[in-house]
Amino acid sequence: MTNTSLKLKEADLAISDQIREAARRLLQQKEVELVIGFEQGTLPLRFTPCFIRNEEDVDRLVWNSFCSNNLAKYLIKRTEKVAVVAKACDVRAIVELIKENQISRDQVVIIGVPYSGMIDRRRIEAELEGKEILGVEEEGNNIILKGNGFTKVLDRNKYLCRCCEESTPANPVIYDILIGELVEEKVPCQSPEIAEFEAKSSDERWSYICAEISKCIRCYACRNACPFCYCQECFVDKTSPQWIGKTTNPSDTLIFHLTRALHVAGRCVGCGACERACPMGVDIRKLNSKLVGDVRELFGYEAGTSLEGVAPLATFKPDDPEGFMLNP
């Protein structure tokens, strides 16, 4: 079923070549047993995680704007030595997971890819009103979509993953092999969506969250795509005692999402894997992004930006701010 018409833009082709070269060398010299990267998927906007163990498979590795899964997920509790092709937000997750002792730094070779602007396929699909995309090409800043009886050209900058849009760092924080050169960082800006959300009254925020969560079907794609949801037993699965109900009543689904949001607060790197995995279009990331901002403001901590420092929810200081407990 592989979608054969792959045409990468020149810059992506160059990155892909360098990734292949690095992977080939690492496998050849037995520095790693496994390289985790991306390969072409079966649908036009899909590139998919792949696991390369043999040199002859290295050419499957590719890179472009649709490599949006967070591969840090696949590194947790690995026992073999592994290399991972990682963009900025994957690396941020890796950094935080190293601090949480889920990934051992000396077991992972980070092939860092500076990249600014992964594309969120769901934003593109929303534009097409259900029309099927049969082919996609990128040319400069244009995404060219082709389907039965239509060609549509979109400005890629309007369809970025939210985290790329919010100008989170485009360069990997740490790396062992750098693909290409570090890119110029954009000035971080607060997401207009979060500003808009914060400007709402508490009742309005509550009804927004309730309306979003009511779409949830509890497939747990958000949880399972999240690099920080690695609990051996998630509280939602626990049956004795049963922590929350199993239905899709808003009371049950809300507890799931609110608890998850708090559990990843101060750890979430804002990669948006949760949002992109959700088949029902629930705006899960809103809560997480809000908490990323709150943690930054309250504790001066930004997850995944440095191997130094302790996650605020993993420590206690007598002068920790606590106003939010009394005055939400």
Partner: protein, 343 residues
Amino acid sequence: MIAKIVRESDLINLLGEWLKEYELIAPVKRDNLVVFDRVDSAGEVLFNYSNTVKSAKELLLPQSETLFTYSSVDHSASIEAHFNDAAPKLLFGVRPCDAKSFLLLDKVFDGERYKDAYYLNRRANTLVVTIGCVKPRTTCFCTSVNGGPFSEDGSDLMLIDIGDAYVVKVTSDRGAGLLEGAELEDAGEDDLASMKRVIQDAEASMSPKLAIEGRQENLESIFDDPIWGPLTEKCLGCGVCTYLCPTCHCFDIIDEARDSQGERIRVWDSCQFSQFTLQASGFNPRLTNKERLRQRVMHKFSYFPKNYGLTGCVGCGRCIQECPVNLDIRDVLNDLLMESVIK
């Protein structure tokens, strides 16, 4: 075969008539997603769509439902069964894959040995009006699983868009009842010729067939094959594929009790979840994604055909479109069959 012609105005009238007698469930757009939902007027119904994000199965098997409530007072107990959803429903605008899925669900919930009263109650009260697929998506593979873009299995009426009108085929007695009293022209020779052309074009546009019918033995022969490991390595273990699937029907039954009262609830479950087969002893025979994904594939393409004589998949392609890591069931099947032939 009875075939009538329904023009746009006729269809609006028909929907209006049906609304008087039935709860009308139809595709609608909600927040950019096409979903089945109850509609109160014909104007809300969406006609121009490829398929809904979730299947129609929850009409017959809701994601969660209370089976009964119970209470105990002074050493005596009372139980009250819950039979909701008794109102007659008309499910309008399903695709042939979803309509066919009801026949597969019937095998499970209306079987020789087990009859599920809750399911049967809803099934008896639900009529199915299907719209054939003039433009199948590339992810559709119904023709590989004994279906097709105009398959009539499971439908009471089948609508086929011939451009300026629909040809309506009556595919059951209940379907005939739906057209009673409506003054509709019989489809003429030209209409039937147009219909034939539309069907041929759609069928020709289908992606190449997978050779999976009747290959249960092949799959069984590689149950222990190492191929399952690499095939399922990227699976995240979420429930997207099973929850969007029209034929996945596994459920869990739980009690939610408070003091002396409680309710017994049935909820969807998924073989992809880590605790699906966790036993009370703590042992789990399906410890990793490999065993879980193998179960999903084997259930649909080996066990279901063996038990019921039908493939347990209708080829709607939802799992392909929505898998967060693009784990494509067609690739999985192709690789498995290839492996089984080599062995």
